[in-house]
């Protein structure tokens, strides 16, 4: 049943990947957008099913695809895999809240499909199917047949296949590759929208369930190695069938079925990723005849400013952080303290993505592991909190090492998908264990204390968190200057050359991953003690994707970026909800998504851009006011 919808969605994904080498993380967001339109038109405004379907699936879907192509994807074709990934992650974060902002964000548990509110029941070969199910089968079959015919036998199909093989060559023989790739994005979004409307009667009409549903079709795209539409189609059906069988054969209650059934697609994805990585088959490489991918230009801030300027910045930052709370009331100190706890987790992105150059979507899971371990050790076994947090970090390390050992050999995109499936598996299985989750109540946690000196006041805890942040930031700064830091820079630049000067690429990446898991684990434990609660579902994979977007917005390369990102997330949300209507809170998420898209090319993030502008301004005024000096700005 689900298999048919997975198939439609997976075919759309693979088609756009083939034509532009962009894996659209936001495929599910588009599905959600179109399904919401359909619901709005059909259910709320009372349009007929046909009219609503034509407008939402037939017009809005492709239009969204074309618009995204025009403003974003068109420019990304030759970017590095990391930039592509971060950009579509930004869309993933931005589109659903934007949709909710327009159509309202109340919970919709039951949305009708194309068969209307009360689908007829039909008997087919002795199986009872409702009309929705029949329509899904019909639609999947039609998509398969029509695409096969178009790609095989028409001029358009020939052009698409040409662009897939080599964009540059196709352009040389006169194909308009832009028009072709625009068309594939329109088709891809149309298919996403179709899948979105078809799946509406089966799952909740909510951003979360749509994201998870489409990630399940990522599994099919992985099976197809992003190449074969036939395999994508078959793989999707396979995932659907396995899921269907699990309903039959697993007991209907208990951890087994509740945890395992939803995670089947992610398990399938993980298995195929490992299989392909051991066979040494990477996803198809970008156009060999094309220009070399344009990477983000990493510049290192130290060195282009004299020491006293940097020193002043650090001192000013430290002064604000140390004295700032004196100006705030207790409520805001609490908010800011939570921000610092988040910032500590965000430092793990600074290490794994900023230094290691890897996109990891499971940092939040390491934080969850840290939180759970802290709660178990401290609350259930009576360990001192501080020790429990530290050990929580240590327990997260082997998790990080395990993921890294399985996944770092994969290319950038597959590494992202592997870490995502790891995070979702943890969400569905480990994080649901009764002892950890307490049926959604979580485990109570105290804050640490030194003798009779407790950190129960948010102000004291703020300073403790700040101290931990400073220590970890210092460790990262040391790392960057050390031989390991040089090795990481080398791996980011050229893996081949790194290997042939005698540095193991895998070991270097493993180091970064493991250290980042330690930081995330510590941060997760601290965040849980800040909240007095370790609730595993606070550390779910989808929130982790939002976190990545936030950190990218503010700067993935420096601890300052992590700090500002950590503070910005709760502070901006609080400011908006204090001063504006509640639904405007949705727009902050949209803002972070757009921020990630806009700044994907600038790894130093917003902070660096602003610093640059400030320096530019300062330089200008110096030039105006002071006599020009001979000192060079080398």
């Amino acid at each position: 049943m689900l298999g048919g919808v997975y198939a439609i969605s997976a075919v759309g994904l693979v088609l756009t990947y083939k034509a532009s080498h962009i894996f659209n993380f936001a495929h599910g967001a588009i599905a959600y957008l179109v399904a919401s339109c359909f619901y709005e038109l059909n259910t709320r405004r009372g349009w007929s099913i046909g009219a609503a379907a034509v407008v939402s699936i037939g017009i809005i879907g492709p239009t969204v695809g074309l618009a995204l192509w025009a403003v974003l994807f068109r420019r990304l074709t030759r970017a590095t895999p990391t930039i592509k990934l971060v950009s579509t992650v930004g869309l993933f974060v931005a589109i659903p809240p934007a949709t909710q902002f327009v159509f309202g964000d109340e919970q919709i548990f039951r949305a009708p499909g194309l068969a209307g509110d009360t689908p007829d029941i039909v008997n087919v070969l002795g199986t009872r199917l409702d009309a929705d199910q029949l329509i899904i089968f019909g639609a999947a079959l039609t998509v398969a047949v029509v695409l096969a015919i178009v790609l095989r036998f028409t001029g358009f199909g020939l052009s698409v296949r040409g662009v897939v093989d080599s964009q540059t060559m196709s352009e040389l023989v006169g194909t308009n590759s832009k028009a072709i790739s625009a068309a594939t994005w329109a088709i891809g979004s149309f298919l996403a929208g179709l899948a979105g409307v078809l799946v509406a009667p089966i799952i909740n009409l909510s951003p979360g369930s749509y994201a998870v549903f489409v990630i399940a079709s990522f599994a099919a795209a992985v099976i197809a190695r992003m190449e074969s539409l036939t395999l994508a189609f078959g793989g999707a059906l396979l995932v659907g069938v396995i899921q269907g069988l699990s309903v039959k054969f697993l007991p209907s209650s208990g951890i087994l079925s509740q945890g395992i059934r939803p995670s089947i697609p992610f398990a399938v994805m993980a298995v195929f990723l490992l299989l392909y990585s051991n066979l040494g088959k990477e996803p198809s490489q970008p156009d060999p005849a094309g220009a070399a991918p344009r990477g983000p230009t990493h510049h290192r801030a130290p060195g282009d400013r004299p020491w006293w300027q940097r020193g002043t910045t650090y001192l000013a930052g430290a002064a604000i952080l140390l004295l700032g709370p004196q100006l705030l009331d207790t409520f805001w100190i609490g908010i800011v303290a939570g921000g610092v706890a988040l910032a500590i987790i965000f430092l793990s992105f600074t290490v794994v993505t900023g230094e290691g150059g890897m996109i990891s979507l499971c940092q939040i899971s390491f934080a969850g592991v840290g939180a759970i371990a802290t709660a178990q050790l401290a609350t259930e076994h009576g360990w001192p909190i501080g020790l429990a947090i530290l050990v929580g970090g240590v327990i997260a390390m082997p998790c990080g090492m395990l993921v890294a050992m399985l996944a770092v050999r994969l290319g950038d995109l597959y590494l992202g998908l592997a870490t995502l499936s790891f995070a979702l598996l943890l969400d569905n299985i480990i994080f649901r264990i009764e002892d950890f989750d307490q049926v959604g109540a979580g485990v109570f946690l105290n804050r640490p204390a030194i003798g009779s000196f407790t950190f129960d006041s948010d102000e004291r805890f703020y300073y403790l968190l700040l101290a931990v942040f400073a220590v970890l930031a210092l460790l990262i700064a040391n790392l960057r200057r050390s031989t390991t830091g040089l090795e990481l820079g080398a791996v980011r630049s050229s893996e081949t050359a790194t290997a042939t000067i005698g540095v193991s690429v895998v070991r270097t990446k493993l180091t970064a991953f493991t250290f980042s898991a330690f930081i995330a684990g510590i941060g997760g434990g601290l965040l849980a003690t800040y909240r007095y609660l370790a609730l595993p579902s606070d550390y779910n994979a989808l929130l982790g994707i939002v976190w990545l977007a936030v950190v990218v917005t503010w700067g993935i390369r420096s601890p300052w970026g992590a700090l500002v990102a950590g503070l910005a997330l709760p502070v901006i949300s609080q400011l908006v909800s204090d001063n504006l209507e509640p639904r405007y809170v949705l727009l902050t998420a949209v803002g972070f998504g757009l921020g990630a898209i806009g700044l994907a090319r600038e790894p130093r993030g917003m902070l660096a851009l602003q610093a640059q502008q400030l320096r530019g301004l300062a330089g200008w005024s110096r030039g105006r006011l002071a006599r020009p000096t001979a000192r060079s700005h080398g």
Partner: protein, 270 residues
């Protein structure tokens, strides 16, 4: 700067070749890219490898450095079979190389490119020490080696710049510097002079000669600049369509009719 010709090595004992390749065959599908290649590089010599485009030179380099596993044959370093060793393990046994298309560490400075190559072979480091900032002892020998190389390649002015925006010729010299910084026993040079102007080529040749002074480092040199190869090499192999069609002293190669027909004739005249 001593000007003595280094073409006559003073090593008397016939030690195992620094690098040896025997019967290496590589097939890509139906195409035989390398066909039973045998090649020796003795310590303290420069061996040239010439051949038209597509002759298999870069493929052979990739087999030697461990990036590509041969279908048949063995690679050995100083008499030890390294077929099963990874590229980093081979590098730590003294094999270094440069690339035809720049593979510099663009996110590191020029100096850091060399420093890392130096440390990769010599210094054990540990993450915990690195995190605590204790991993950096001042190392006079490291500074001397790296700065000496930067100086001789005239890279002192760009030492502090990131290696991503260098002019082509400068980038080539950095590649060579990085290879030499590891104090290697064998260096594979993949068209090091491509894109260099005359002055830079002279610097390069000079740096290679100097590297050989008082050292047993050996070079295997792939070049299109035939005069450069024949001028620097003690021994030359000629590849064509994956086969070794001739080998011998530079003068013998220059007059070999098969070589002239396959390659040199057209090159020399053009």
């Amino acid at each position: 700067m001593s000007a003595d010709p280094v073409a006559t090595p003073a090593v008397s004992a016939p030690a195992a070749p620094a690098l040896a390749v025997s019967a290496v065959t590589v097939r890509f599908g139906g195409l035989t890219a390398l066909d039973a290649i045998d090649l020796d590089v003795a310590p303290a010599t420069t061996v040239g490898l010439v051949g038209p485009n597509g002759a298999g030179k870069t493929t052979l380099f990739n087999v030697m450095s461990g990036l590509l596993a041969p279908d048949e044959g063995t690679v050995s370093l100083a008499g030890r079979d390294v077929n099963r060793l990874s590229p980093p393990a081979r590098a730590r046994r003294g094999l270094a190389r440069t690339y035809q298309r720049s593979e510099l560490f663009s996110e590191l400075t020029v100096r850091e490119n060399l420093v890392l190559a130096y440390r990769a072979r010599r210094r054990r480091h540990h993450l915990t020490l690195d995190l605590l900032g204790l991993g950096r002892h001042h190392d006079a020998q490291e500074d001397a080696t790296v700065d000496g190389l930067l100086d001789s390649l005239r890279l002192g002015d760009v030492a502090g710049q990131l290696a991503d925006a260098l002019p082509l010729g400068t980038g080539r010299l950095v590649e060579v510097g990085r290879a030499l910084a590891a104090d290697p026993d064998v260096v594979l040079l993949d068209e090091p002079s491509a894109g260099l102007d005359e002055h830079e080529t002279e610097l390069l040749a000079d740096a290679l000669r100097r590297a050989r002074l008082g050292s047993t480092v050996a070079f295997l040199l792939v070049e299109h600049d035939v005069d450069l190869v024949l001028g620097l090499s003690d021994h030359v192999y000629v590849l064509d369509f994956g086969r070794c069609i001739a080998s011998g002293a530079p003068d013998a190669i220059r007059s070999d009719p098969a070589v002239r027909a396959a390659y040199l004739g057209t090159e020399v005249e053009s």
